[in-house]
Every structure is written in C-alpha cells, then in structure tokens.
Assembly symmetry: C2
C-alpha cells in the first residue's frame, strides 16, 4: 500500500497569488510546475494561465504576438463558433482556439513549502508559442538546466527546448519534437554515450496518446523513436498517458512518475521503472495510481479531478512531488521510494 503524504500547507500557490500581465487579463491558474533544486533551495517553473476578463456578450481570445498579447473578440451569439467548453472555442469545420494563454513563472523557496515568485520566467515568443507554453520539465545536466515544454499554436502542439544556467536568460534550441507532442522529459545523463528523452506523440489515427523514447547525440536532434509503454484500456490509465517527471536514477533503474487519464478525463499519478542501461525496457509499473484527486482542492477547480505533476525533488529516500491540482493550483505530496517500488508488479 503506497503512503502519500500531502503537506499541510496545500495549496502552496493559487491563481490569486499572481497578477495578470495587464488590466484586461486575469490569472485563472497557477499549476503543473517543473521542479529543480537551485542555489540551495527549490525552484518551480510553474504554468500561469491568463484569460481575458469575462463579459456577457463576447469571449476574448488572447494570442501572443511579437512579445505582446493581442486579444480577438468573438460574439457569443456567433453561430459559427462553439463556446460550450470554457477552455476552448471551436469553429464549425475546424479552427480551434484556447481561451487562456499560458506562460512559465519562476517561484523559489528555501523550505520547499513557502514560495516566492521572482517575476521572471519564460514568455511565449515564437510563432510556435502564440497560444501559450505549458507544462515544463527541468533536467539538470552538468551545470546547465534543460527545460522542455509544450508550445501551442495554429501549427500544433510541439516540444520546445530551452537552456539556462541562471533561470533569468533562457536560450532556445527550437522545436525538438514536431506536432502533436507533449510531456517531453530528458534523462539527466547520457546512457551508453547517447542522450535519451521520454515523449508523448498524440493524434494518431491508429494509437491513443502513449509514451515513447528517443535518443540524441546533442539534445537538439532526436531519432530512433521507440514505443515504450501503452495505455491499459478500461482502467485509470486507459485513455492517455505521459511521463510526469524527469527520470530519477535509483539502484533499481530509472524511476519515472507518469500521469494517466481515464474515459472521464480524471488524471492520476503512477510510476514505472526502466532498465538502468537499456532504458527502452520497462521493468516495473504501478498497478494502481499512488496519487488520485480526492481532496476538494484536487476535485474542484478550473478543470476538476486532476492531479498532474511535471517533476519532483528527491530528498534521501523520499520524493517531494510538486503537482498541479484541478488545473489551477500548485500542491505538494511526499512519497517514499520504497513505497513506490512496493506498489509495482
């Protein structure tokens, strides 16, 4: 039986803790943080979602363009568009737009529980980021931090790589995985002379969204894509899965947290284990999720019944998992490594 301890201060960060980039915008979510240890503390790169303040007659769609946010207004009476889902608007016959725009904000903490926003972060810049940037994973390799995130635009959902050593300047290495792809997480060291990445292509005619592995000589170009792990139809991870953490080196192999969604879009957290030298071999997988949306801050929010992690910090034999709850808050839950291993078949 896995024992997860949610910490007492949850939620650690809420939408209300952050102000919009300008007067016409409001922050509706602070969630799904990438995590790393940095300068003696914990650093989160959290997703901040903003939307145009609502009114009765129109829906505003914020789009990033040349470093600014442009707002397109759509009349709610326009029969050509479907406004029934608060997260997106969809045009009859195809076009889809997001009603919120996400950026990545830096928050820091010395105790791992009380966080302060630094004001910096990564903002949408390129044509691949016009609808926002989401769900970062942070991998430390030697003295640099490699950040992968999902970039959303009219070109699709891509994985983008940025590199930093100070979390102030973020050098872009461009689109590393073409659309649609999410949940890219780079391994923290080379294996057999090659870099490896977990990723999650989606939108296939023949396959649900599942976890793949690829390799690289240089972190920017990726090949030898291999299907790693599939959904389990009818179960908690039966509709889509994706890696939720950067792989963690343990004496049993590479431990990876992953999220699974069921037919009701309920997101839970599980884990799997990869062979240390041959990371294309799955050696273990939790049968049941070890973290499920149960508390009110997880079941209720912008999109309820979701726990979604993008990373964790290891402290001895404990993982401190920072996760998004209900797509609008940052929370933390701690779990012992041995409890996760025990839960694997």
């Amino acid at each position: 039986m896995t024992v997860v301890k949610r910490i007492v201060g949850n939620p650690l960060i809420r939408a209300d803790d952050i102000t919009g980039r300008n007067e016409s915008l409001e922050v509706i979510g602070a969630f799904n943080p990438g995590v790393t240890e940095f300068n003696g503390g914990v650093l989160l790169l959290l997703r901040v979602a903003e939307r145009v303040k609502p009114n009765d007659k129109t829906v505003g769609v914020p789009i990033a363009s040349d470093g600014e946010i442009k707002i397109s207004e759509f009349q709610k009476s326009d029969k050509d568009w479907d406004f029934s889902d608060s997260r997106v608007i969809t045009q009859r016959g195809g076009k889809k737009l997001l009603t919120s725009l996400s950026r990545l904000a830096v928050a820091r903490s010395l105790d791992g529980a009380r966080f302060e926003l630094t004001g910096g972060g990564i903002f949408p810049e390129t044509e691949y980021e016009e609808y926002g940037i989401e769900d970062p994973r942070i991998t430390k390799i030697e003295n640099k931090y490699y950040i992968t995130y999902s970039a959303v635009s009219s070109k699709g959902i891509c994985a983008v790589l940025r590199v930093t050593d100070n979390f102030i300047d973020f050098e872009s290495r461009g689109v590393i995985l073409c659309p649609d792809n999410k949940d890219a997480a780079i391994f923290p060291e080379k294996i057999g002379g090659r870099y490896y990445i977990l990723h999650r292509p989606s939108g296939s005619e023949f396959s649900p969204p599942e976890i793949w592995l690829a390799e690289s000589p240089d972190l920017a170009c990726w090949g030898n894509h291999r299907h790693l792990m599939g959904v389990r139809r009818g179960r908690w991870d039966g509709v889509r899965i994706g890696s939720s953490s950067v792989p963690i080196k343990t004496d049993k192999g590479w431990l990876v947290l992953y999220h699974g969604a069921d037919i009701n879009n309920r997101y839970c957290l599980g884990a799997f284990l990869l062979d240390a030298e041959r990371p294309w071999i799955v050696t273990g997988r939790t049968d049941k999720p070890f973290l499920e949306p149960e508390l009110p801050y997880e079941t209720d929010g912008f999109f309820g019944n979701v726990v979604f992690a993008c990373g964790c910090v290891r402290s001895g034999d404990t993982l401190k998992i920072y996760y998004g709850a209900a797509d609008d808050k940052v929370c933390r839950a701690d779990v012992g490594l041995n409890d996760i291993f025990d839960a694997m078949r």
Copy 2:
C-alpha cells in the same frame, strides 16, 4: 500554362502484373513508387498492396508478424465493427485496422517505360510495420540510397529510414519521425553543413496536415522542426498537403513536387521552390495543380480521383514523374522545368 505529357504506355504497372505472396492474398494495388536512377536505368520502389481474397461472410485483415502474414477474420455480421469503408475496418470506440497490407517491390527499366519486377524489395519487419509500409522516397547521397517510407502499425504512422547501395540489402536506421508522420523526403546534399528533411506531421488538434522542415547532423536524429508551408483552405490543396518528391537542385533553388487534397479527397500535384541556401524560405508555389486526375485510369480504381507521386527522374530540363493513379497503378507524366517555374507566382 503548364504542359504535362502523360506517356503513351500508361499505366506502366498494374496490380494484375504482380502475384500475391501466398494463395489467400490478392494484389489490389501497385502504386506510389519511389524513384531513382540506378545502374544506367530507372529503378522504382513501388508500393504493392495485398488483401485477403474476399468472401461473403468475413473480412480478413492481414498483419505482418515475425516475417509472416497472419490473417485475422472478422464476421461481417459483427455489429461491433464498421465495414463501410473498403480500406479500413473500425471498431466502435476506437481500434482501426487496414484491410490491405503494403510492401515495397523493386522494378527496373532501361528505357524508363517498360519495367520488370526483380522480385526483391522491402517487406514489413518490425512492430512499427505490422500494418504495412507505404509511399517511399529515395535520396541518393554520395554512393548510398536513403529510403524513407511510412510504417503503419497499432503504434501509429511513423517515418522509417533504410539505407542501401544495391537495392537487395536494406539496412534499417529505425523510426526517424514519431507518429503520425508521412511524406518524409531527405535533401540530396548537406546545406551549410547540415542534412535537411521535408516531412508531414498529422493528427494535430490545432492544425491540418502540412509540410515541415527539420535538420540533422547524421540523417538519423532530427531537430529544429520548422513549419514550412500550409494548406490553402477551399482550394485544391485546402485539406492536406505533403511533399511528393525529394528536393531537386535547380538554378532557381530547391524544386519540390507536392500533393494536395481537397475536401473530396481528390489528390493533385503541384510544386514549390525553396531558397538554395536557406531551405526554410519558400520562394515560389504553383497556383494551380499541374497534374490532376482526369483520365479514366486516374479517376477510377481502388481509390479514384488520385494522382500521387513519390519521386521523379530529371533528364535535362524535363522531369519524368512516376506517379500512382487511383491508388492502384503506376503511370508516368513528363513536364518541363520551365513550365513549372512559369506556373509559380
């Protein structure tokens, strides 16, 4: 006005020219050939599609597994499956299977019109190829031939790379682009020290299937993906597009044939031009298609109203385009380079 000359011998190869791999299979298509010059003649690597011989009560689905073809039978009376499209069967709630299995066969000709099948080729081998392999492009770089094709399986549609110098043995470099991706075509030389590829990701929530460019240090790993060219809604290339040839070096830049499909799934051929040194810049595009399905062998067949090329041979200022007609025959049409340039805006 572009002048295309279909040659008199069309169709050059038909399904009837090829026998099935065993008694329970029949060849229903010989089409979409990759093309190269080889040993003083023209070599085609054509897609050969086979299906289980039909009967009244069941539909057989051929699946490649461990070098053999296994046949799964589905009762036509089974309400859990939809048999209305002759190309696929679809299970209620998701699973999709192809009713035909494609492989790639080698055909050779000295005059470029009368072809002989050598009996060799590329057969589905891996787990990524269980539903077949399709639509190859052949790029000659120095003394080797790099073949990209679409591999279809329950994991999705991937781009696979194989290398040969004799068209007898084909060394695999694995999946170079993850699902869903089609129409990968490698440039025949490095530009600024990097290899380049055209490709066509599909299945995005936010974008129709369009043409992208990526770069590589080694032909196996690809990055810096850039969106290159989009559809033109409402027109002949309004629903999906993909490159149809390996880029051809001309004094005006890289010339590429491409296919476009409209809302009725009618496939036509056009062309575009890329800057010689900066292949991410589109410098020209034909307004209208220069080859459309018009003759009976193009309008009628396994899937009618389709002309679909995977390559051509250049002879002086003429391109000899080998193309699939109605998804079941190989044909040839010749066009002058200057006629294509004249048709570009």
